[in-house]
Amino acid sequence: MVKASSSGWSSGLSGGADTIVARATSSGPAALAVVRLSGPAVRRIAAEISPAADFSEPWRARLVAIDGLGEQAVAIAFSAPRSYTGEDMLELTVHGSPFVVRSLIERCIAAGARPAGPGEFTRRAVANGKLDLVQAEAVRDLVGAETAWQARNAREQLSGRLSQRLAGLRGDLVELLARLEASLDFVDHGVELDRAEEAARLAGCRERLAALLDTAAAGERIRDGVRVVIVGPPNCGKSTLFNTLLGNERAIVAPHPGTTRDVLEAELDIAGLRVTLVDTAGLRDAADPIEEEGVRRARAAAASASVVVELWPADAGPGAPAGDGEITTLRVLSKADLPHPVDAGRLPVSCATGAGIDRLRTALAETVAGGVPDLGGEVAISHRHRCGLERAAAELAACDLAAPELAAESLRCAARELEALIGVVATDDLLDEVFASFCIGK
């Protein structure tokens, strides 16, 4: 570990890695842009690109002139290890012109930095022990968060809550393993297993693992969002409802049955969750091969939905019977401005008058949010976590304390799975996998 020297910046970094530079904000013209540098040569590069500036005091914003660029920047220097990456860092806020940013980065490269790869700053933070792998993933999720739920979950994960759960579970597995090993190797020293106690410990580990796995479904909803598919007979107003919910004329609307022949998708935020709204072709015996394909796609879309909004037009007489109920279904009576028989099971909606739309929105929000189980303050896990935890759970399920040398094998494998999740023994392959989805500059 490197200590910050008393003169402000540390003299270098243990890793001795090279110094990287990248734009940390989105590309394209903007009011401001942030360019960040990290690595052992930051101090030297800073002195070179801004010879007049005084960087002796880290963690303070100051206005500096960038040499040869005719540009001023708000600069904050960070001294290792008290920085995001754990290395010496410099953050420069400049005007967000693509030209200014490009010139500044080129200036840094000329002074000895090299362009950062995707996620390289966070990767260094992991390498320097500032974050573990689970927290690094949370950084990526938080940067990409589009909804309140995604942001909340990513922040919780970044706080280390999930890491602590995983590390704690691993610790308990290792402790149980140590007890088993001691009972195997030191039987002649009178070390005996307390079967009941060890069984209780194992059961506790299994329960905690199961509880973590239980958050997977919620995790999927939060991360991947919810698919809401509108289905119904032709010309019942599916595309009109689709446009109304979106608030724009995305789908072509016409008074002819069979106008929508393909599946249309659009994203929107409902109740803090990402919702993919899907418009489909009307379900009927198709008149031509193209429409037939549209109907087939509509059925497939409905089958993959989290929530189905099933429309039945008011002018079509009695509604169709309810579906088989496997997918959550909102049953809606469309064109409710037309005279219609009362159907208690259907929510009357009219896109023409706007009647019932707010009630539909509310019902949708409740249905969508209801799909996220109460996490009780826990963090919902991702697909990667779920795969590792499922493998660990399979090992624990096979763990039979009556055969301690085999139980030890299972515990060892389960602990290894958890280690791989947190990155205790992270392999480069795993790091590559995790950091592949990062953007440059983070």
């Binding site: 890793g15 001795g16 890695a17 090993e181 195997l184 190797d185 030191f186 039987v187 002649d188 020293h189 009178g190 039979d400 009556a402 055969a403 301690p404 040398e405 085999l406 030890a408 094998e409 992270a426 392999t427 480069d428 392959d429 590559d432």
Partner: protein, 638 residues
């Protein structure tokens, strides 16, 4: 007779030295053993027992290779017992109480009878070096002894100090003076030495203990010998079990300041795995009692060893502690427990051949290399002795592999990690423990023993025939289907007491937790035709079936990586794409093969892939480059 040049000079005639000398001379080398006294050959200065869990595994392997310790332990054995019998076969640990006196006599006679060994009494005070090689030793009386190679096995004698309470006196063992000049000589030659500590319990007079009040501990009903050289063994003594009463805790707590371990008098690091009673009381205050085994030290000896009471407390405190144990109230002390502090050579300085990396011609083995125990010492002595001869002839050395033997685990652990306490073998140190049960030791290692010429061809042939038969039986049990027809079901119900539902095999039934495999095996003609040992081996493999396959795959993967040797002149920093951390680890540890590299911290799978790319792909590397012999490779004729 004009003296031919000596091939190997073994310094020390303890368990490591004797094993090394016996192996080397049987390989045809001219060997000399230098010992302080011929009376103390292969002494058992601590517990009067050989083997146990991990240690018994090492003995089984040593025996398969043709070592002598298991054979001598059978002959000196007084009580034989397999530990962990209620667990699976991988962790069964054969152990024997031994007659200490008899053990020394057997080993001394062996040394004297092996043609080609000179035994020299004297104290080695330094090494002789010529042209960067160690070429002999200097004795304290001024004599100089030359040899092609020198093996140091000086145990706990290097600047040894014995402690009992505040009393400290120089000594290697009770009643024996230490070796003082040699340590300074090694330091002067640049070797790093460090201070270790071990201890031993008091010895009590047999007649002074009321054993009627203790719990007798008999040997196994079917005592098994360690060695293929031994036809049968018998139990001739009992041991006894006792527990320390709660008052012992307060006796020790009140006197802790008088223990050299806690007063700061002892600086050396002791083995966590073999703690003194004062350690146990301090570290496990919630344990109200501690187990104590009373073990006879010999048939003709009145001395009883108090296993579990290792201590360096002052004599009067030892008396209080011992006499507090029910049955020990009138215990008479023949000797008080003591701790010994001694210098060891930091083991990272030796290569897997046990030759010193910086001083060619010098090898190290036994407690001097930081291990603890007679079995670890003998195992290392064997490896060092064999390699000193092979290297002297310019032949490929014998480097046991950690995925195939505890011997490999021992050597690899010592040479690749920095040990700060005496190293004791434990089954948990072996990643592939399930493959390394004592019953498979011969199948794993006897081919190497036979190739070295340390196991007679005739014995090897008989063994091979047995392994073939075992495989046949195993295949038969695993492949012949048992259909759930009425007569078969009745048969299974009668023999195994369970009801087969789906078509299965006898292997499937024997694996079931609710089936007593031994009972079933006795009733099945195909199994009952085997010897008890072979039957155990077959059942053992069935027991672990699926797990073994997983380990076998990993072992085969490692075997492929092991064929990829890393050239000594490879500069890791110059390999493109290799992380700094990986390059550092490679430079520091200088692993011999990619399989060894893979275990180093910092060497990730990606780094291994880069390394493999640099060295050539495994499947193109069928032919092993010159430089090493391991199991499965023919040994050059000696």
């Amino acid at each position: 007779m004009a003296a031919a040049p000596r091939d190997l000079l073994v310094v020390g005639a303890g368990h490591a030295g004797v094993e090394a000398a016996a192996a080397a001379v049987r390989l045809g080398a001219r060997v000399a053993v230098v010992t302080l006294s011929l009376d103390t050959v292969a002494q058992m200065p601590c517990n009067p027992a050989m083997g146990g869990i991990g240690k018994g595994h090492l003995m089984a392997e040593l025996d398969a290779l043709g070592g002598v310790q298991p054979w001598a332990a059978d002959r000196a054995g007084l009580q034989f017992k397999v530990l962990n019998r209620s667990r699976g076969p991988a962790v069964w640990g054969p152990r024997a109480q031994c007659d200490k006196q008899r053990y020394t006599v057997i080993m001394r006679r062996l040394l004297q009878r092996l043609a080609g060994i000179d035994i020299i009494e004297g104290e080695v005070s330094g090494l002789l070096e010529a042209a960067g090689r160690v070429v002999g030793v200097r004795l304290a009386d001024g004599r100089r002894l030359q040899a092609r190679a020198v093996l140091l096995t000086t145990g706990t004698f290097l600047d040894g100090i014995l402690h009992t309470g505040a009393e400290r006196r120089p000594g290697g063992r009770f009643g024996e003076r230490p070796s003082v000049g040699l340590g300074a000589d090694l330091r002067a030659r640049g070797l790093e030495l460090r201070r270790f500590k071990t201890g031993t319990p008091p010895r009590l007079h047999r007649a002074s203990i009321d054993v009627e009040r203790l719990q007798p501990e008999p040997g196994d009903a079917d005592p098994r010998p360690f060695s293929w050289r031994t036809r049968s063994v018998a139990n001739r003594v009992l041991c006894w079990l006792a527990h320390t009463p709660e008052v012992v805790q307060s006796i020790i707590a009140d006197n802790l300041h008088r223990s050299p371990l806690f007063s700061g008098q002892i600086q050396g690091v002791g083995p966590r795995y073999c703690p003194s009673i004062e350690d146990k009381v301090v570290r496990f205050p919630h344990h109200r009692q501690h187990t104590v085994f009373l073990e006879p030290e010999g048939l003709d000896s009145d001395s009883m060893y108090v296993n579990g009471l290792s201590t360096s407390l002052p004599a009067d405190v030892q008396e209080q502690v011992v006499r507090a144990i029910p049955g020990f109230e009138r215990a008479r002390f023949l000797r008080y427990g003591y701790a010994v502090e001694y210098d060891v050579v930091a083991p990272l300085q030796v290569a897997p051949t046990l030759e010193c990396r910086s001083l060619p011609g010098l090898s190290l083995a036994g407690q001097l290399l930081g291990t603890s125990g007679y079995e670890e010492a003998a195992a290392l002595g064997f490896v060092a002795g064999v390699n000193a001869v092979l290297l002297g002839r310019g032949e490929a050395p014998f480097v046991p592999e950690r995925e195939r033997s505890y011997l490999g685990v021992l050597v690899d652990d010592l040479c690749s990690a920095d040990h700060r306490e005496p190293y004791r073998m434990l089954t948990s140190r072996a990643e592939h423990r399930l493959l390394l049960g004592v019953d498979s030791a011969r199948e794993r290692l006897m081919p190497t023993g036979a190739r070295l010429g340390l196991v007679p061809e005739s014995v090897f042939h008989v063994e091979q025939e047995r392994w073939r038969r075992r495989r046949e039986v195993r295949d038969e049990l695993a492949t012949r289907a048992l259909n759930p027809d009425a007569p078969t079901r009745a048969l299974v119900r009668r023999i195994a007491g369970v009801e087969p539902t789906a078509p299965t095999t006898w292997a499937g039934i024997l694996r079931r937790q609710d089936v007593d495999a031994e009972t079933v095996a006795a009733a099945l003609p195909v199994l009952s035709g085997l010897t008890a040992e072979d039957r155990r081996a077959v059942l053992g493999e069935l027991h672990y079936d699926g797990y073994l396959a997983r380990h076998q795959r990993e072992v085969e993967r490692l075997a492929r990586l092991r064929h990829l040797e890393i050239p000594v002149d490879l500069e890791p920093a110059e390999i493109p794409g290799l992380s700094r951390e990986a390059a550092d680890a490679l430079r520091r540890h200088r692993p011999r093969t990619v399989a060894d590299a893979e275990r180093l911290p910092g060497v990730t799978p990606a780094a291994v892939a880069i390394l493999i790319g640099r060295l050539g792909r495994p499947r193109d590397a069928r032919r092993r480059p010159a430089g090493s012999m391991t199991e499965g490779e023919p040994c050059p004729e000696s």
